[in-house]
């Protein structure tokens, strides 16, 4: 079994932060040179403090080994680090194509990391291995941060594997790496201490231990529309029939999708990505993004398994709720730490929301997130699948915003 392991250590010769408090810092940079941007973002996040863990989000243009090395070096060169490429990232100061470095440290924080390179094992085992970093952490409050490969076939399997290790006591949170929605490949940045690695399409895990609570928030802003339909024939993510009728026929009728869009894969992706299906759950629904149609088979394809026998609805977005989803998730995460002092928030925001919101809507959503969290620092990225597994959440989400607050 191939995996990489690291655990936080107190560095020799480093002066302990005089404030003797836990902290969370975010720095971002849109400098064109990836290494310079990485270093700038890291200095801003650390503000001279020794970090327990770095969490790096970088645009594909900045996802280079030089950037990863520069971030790591800027933090003193012996620090745990996880990170991934994105479809856009944001921080307290706004969004842009560059590098966002999130860092945390101080007494009471502990971290341990694992990396599972691409195809070194199945996704279930990869999830279990990534979450096994929990073995190293003994703390009152714990969470596992997962950064998955946004292109892998069944991300839910990865979450299932991680849950088999973490169990109900420890929440799982994270997102899958992005590639600006080009489907060309994702990158992960990893350090278990001294060496820095840039891994293609990997799965990373970081166990976070804290003396104070962590909180999770989930929101999406979509709601059911019309009557439920039974999935009468499907295979994996491909849906052939809904209520006994060809799935594409049902889909085009209910969404009003014109034939010329069905015939053009690029146009259909743009159209369908913001017109998802919802798979029935006991307390809500799992959103299934539709991304392709096969006019010959009259089938539609979703990003995740839509099992035969399942019940689905068409989902509609309430524009306001959609714009508020990030703020809602962030606020819910902060509220979940209770009376503790929230220090910072990590946000994993679905990249398809960029299409649903448009540039102005996305900026507005960002401002609302900032307003909702101010003065708490936060960093986030647009992901290819969002992970939140705690009571009331199944694990893998789409078109959703999930947030983690630390205190």
């Amino acid at each position: 079994m191939l995996c990489l392991i690291g655990r936080a250590r107190r560095r020799k010769g480093v002066v302990v932060d005089e404030r003797q408090e836990r902290w969370f810092g975010v720095g971002n940079s849109v400098l064109p040179d990836p290494a310079q941007a990485g270093a700038q973002a890291c200095y801003a996040a650390l503000d001279g403090r020794p970090a327990t863990l770095l969490i790096v989000f970088a645009s594909p243009s900045h996802s280079t080994p030089e950037m990863a090395a520069a971030v790591h070096a800027a933090a003193g060169g012996e620090v745990l680090m996880i990170g991934c490429s994105t479809s856009g990232e944001y921080a307290t100061d706004g969004r842009g194509a560059g590098v966002v470095v999130n860092a945390l440290g101080g007494p009471g924080f502990a971290a341990s990391v694992r990396a599972v390179p691409y195809e070194s094992m199945d996704l279930y085992a990869a999830g279990a291995t990534a979450a096994s970093c929990l073995d190293d952490i003994d703390a009152e409050h714990r969470a596992v941060l997962l950064l998955g490969d946004g292109r892998s076939a069944d991300q839910q399997e990865m979450v299932r594997g991680a849950y088999s290790v973490a169990g109900a006591q420890v929440p799982l949170i994270g997102g899958c790496a992005g590639d600006d929605m080009t489907q060309t490949g994702t990158w992960h940045f990893f350090s278990s201490g001294t060496d820095v690695q840039v891994l293609p399409n990997a799965v990373l895990g970081a166990a976070l231990g804290s003396a104070s609570p962590v909180g999770i928030g989930v929101a999406h802003g979509w709601h059911r529309s019309g009557e439920p339909m039974a999935v009468t024939r499907s295979e994996g993510g491909k849906i052939y029939e809904l209520d006994g009728e060809p799935a594409l026929d049902v889909y085009t009728r209910l969404t009003g999708c014109p034939p010329e869009i069905v015939a053009d894969p690029g146009a259909f992706l743009q159209f369908a990505a913001v017109r998802p299906l919802g798979l029935a759950r006991r307390t809500g629904e799992d959103i299934r993004i539709i991304f392709a149609a096969d006019p010959d088979e009259r089938s539609i394809s979703g990003l995740a398994d839509t099992p035969e026998g399942g019940l689905v609805w068409f989902m509609e977005a309430d524009p306001e709720a959609l714009r508020d989803a990030a703020a809602t998730a962030g606020s819910a995460a902060v509220a979940a730490v209770g009376d503790a002092d929230p220090l910072g928030v990590l946000v994993f925001d679905c990249c398809v929301r960029l299409l649903a919101l448009g540039p102005d809507g996305t900026d507005l959503a960002g401002r609302r997130l900032g307003d909702a969290l101010r003065p708490i620092p936060y960093g986030g990225f647009f992901s290819n699948g969002e992970i939140a597994r705690n009571p009331g959440a199944k694990g893998m989400h789409h078109l959703t915003v999930v947030a983690l607050a630390v205190s």
């Binding site: 279990a128 299932r160 849950y163 088999s164 290790v165 973490a166 169990g167 109900a168 006591q169 039974a230 029935a280 759950r281 006991r282 307390t283 099992p307 035969e308 026998g309 399942g310 019940l311 009571p391 009331g392 199944k394």
Partner: protein
């Protein structure tokens, strides 16, 4: 929502039927059942063990599940707090159960009904998977047993052949069979038992304990040096040695190491255990045979002409072979082939005893005329051969041939009479790619030409002799 649970059950059923073994069926069951009811904790238990669980981390204490009261509808798992519980038997008999626990609200009647359906589906799947696994295991065991039996049978058959071969050799030794034949039967027997190998018995040469000779060889007729080298290693170690495709054991006469028994394969082999058996058995057999012959003198006798004491054809061939391998440059050695004129007349007029005496005299003069590095041999009848090596040039071979002719031409005193004979000598020189047979045949052809033209002279071989009018076989 009746449709919802039915569809969940359908989904569960199709997932569970894809499971290939008990462990993955149990894993799928706890995952699907927990996900469809949003239960944080789930387990499949049976026979006091947890087949699979989620929600309590890896390898939770089985008692947390197996210790639950059958009628309980709430429980508290450590670290999670109070939870609503539902437990469903997998079948009517047996103690297998599907267990789910959820924190936020109790399981509804519809959910319980659905979970009961899932438990029964799982029970059926597990029963058929267990049957399947048992059958697979039985089949595997049967196959392994059959394979083991076949292997044993082969080993027994082989051992029987080994014993038969040894017995045959033993019988031959007891029947006073000449030593040379016994030694051949030892190398032949070992070679037949092991496919595609060369076997050799290498022995010290009498009078020169450092010099080793291949006394018997079965298999490929080359690579004497390699075989002698392997034997030497075993003799020096006085214990079995292996070296790549070679393996050897020492052979003893009494307490003394007299030689080595060598097996050479094409490459390192998986049949080494068989080699070891054969080496041990035949090495021992060779030691016994040699002990039966009492001394190395018997070995010497097996390789020398009893009348003249010169090496016989077999030993001579080995030396020529060794020379050809060691001297790749042309004309660095010569082979003289001698034939006595008038020998038949001596035999006919003075009798065989006189003939024998003449042969002994010629052998003595021959040996006296040669350098210590040269080797004379009696090939049979009145034919002798000399290996001249090293050779500084053809002139040296010519000189030695002339000396031999001159020595033999001096009268011999036999039974009170002076007997005169002449030697005709053919000379051939080594060249690249020469075989022992070619070298001897060329010297023989040259000797014949000398005898026909000027009796008591020497001739060197040239290619025209192959096609010349005096056809050798017509002699």
């Amino acid at each position: 929502m009746a449709g919802w649970s039915l569809l969940q059950l359908t989904e569960f059923f199709s997932a569970i039927t894809r499971a290939g073994d008990v462990a993955s069926a149990a894993r799928i069951a706890v995952q699907r059942a927990s996900e469809s009811t949003e239960a944080e904790v789930a387990a499949v238990v049976g026979d006091g063990e947890v087949a699979s669980s989620v929600g309590l981390g890896r390898d939770p204490d089985p008692v947390l599940f197996t210790g639950l009261r059958a009628t309980a509808d709430t429980t508290a798992f450590p670290g999670i707090g109070p939870m609503y519980l539902t437990m469903h038997p997998l079948d009517r008999s047996g103690d297998g159960q599907l267990i789910l626990a959820r924190a936020d609200e109790p399981f509804t009647a519809e959910e319980r009904q659905m979970l009961q359906g899932m438990a029964r589906v799982l029970g059926l799947a597990l029963r058929s998977l267990r049957t399947l696994e048992n059958e697979r295991r039985l089949r595997r065991e049967r196959e392994q047993e059959a394979e083991a039996r076949l292997g044993l049978l082969r080993a027994l058959e082989w051992r029987e052949r080994l014993l038969e071969t040894l017995l045959r050799i033993q019988r031959a030794a007891n029947q006073q069979t000449p030593l040379g034949e016994i030694l051949s039967s030892i190398t032949d027997g070992a070679q037949m038992l092991l496919d595609d190998v060369t076997t050799a018995l290498v022995l010290r040469e009498p009078g020169d304990a450092d010099r080793l000779t291949v006394a018997s060889l079965s298999g490929h007729q080359s690579g004497h040096d390699v075989l002698v080298g392997a034997a030497r290693l075993a003799m020096e170690a006085n214990s079995p040695v292996t070296d790549g495709p070679l393996a050897a054991v020492p052979v003893h006469i009494g307490d003394k190491v007299a030689g080595g028994f060598v097996i050479a394969g094409r490459d390192a082999t998986s049949r080494r255990p068989e080699w070891r058996d054969v080496l041990a058995a035949f090495g021992e057999q060779a030691s016994l045979a040699l002990a039966g012959a009492s001394t190395l003198a018997a070995v010497h006798a097996a390789q020398h002409d009893p009348l003249t004491g010169l090496p016989n054809r077999s030993l001579f061939r080995q030396h020529v072979q060794r020379m050809l391998a060691a001297c790749p440059d042309p004309a660095t050695a010569a082979l003289l082939y001698l034939d006595l004129d008038l020998f038949k007349q001596v035999n006919d007029t003075l009798g065989h005893t006189a003939g024998d005496e003449l042969l002994r005299g010629v052998a003595d003069r021959l040996s006296a005329a040669l350098r210590s590095s040269d080797m004379a041999a009696r090939l049979g009848g009145d034919e002798f051969a000399v290996l001249v090596e090293p050779l500084s040039g053809v002139a040296q071979a010519q000189d030695i041939a002339q000396q031999v002719i001159d020595e033999v031409a001096r009268p011999f005193e036999i039974a009170g009479r002076l007997v005169t004979t002449r030697a005709s000598v053919g000379i051939s020189y080594n060249r690249a790619g020469h075989s022992v047979e070619e070298l001897i045949e060329e010297a023989d052809l040259a000797m014949y030409r000398a005898k026909k033209t000027v009796s008591g002279s020497y001739r060197e071989f040239d290619e025209s002799m192959h096609t010349g009018p005096a056809f050798h076989s017509a002699r």
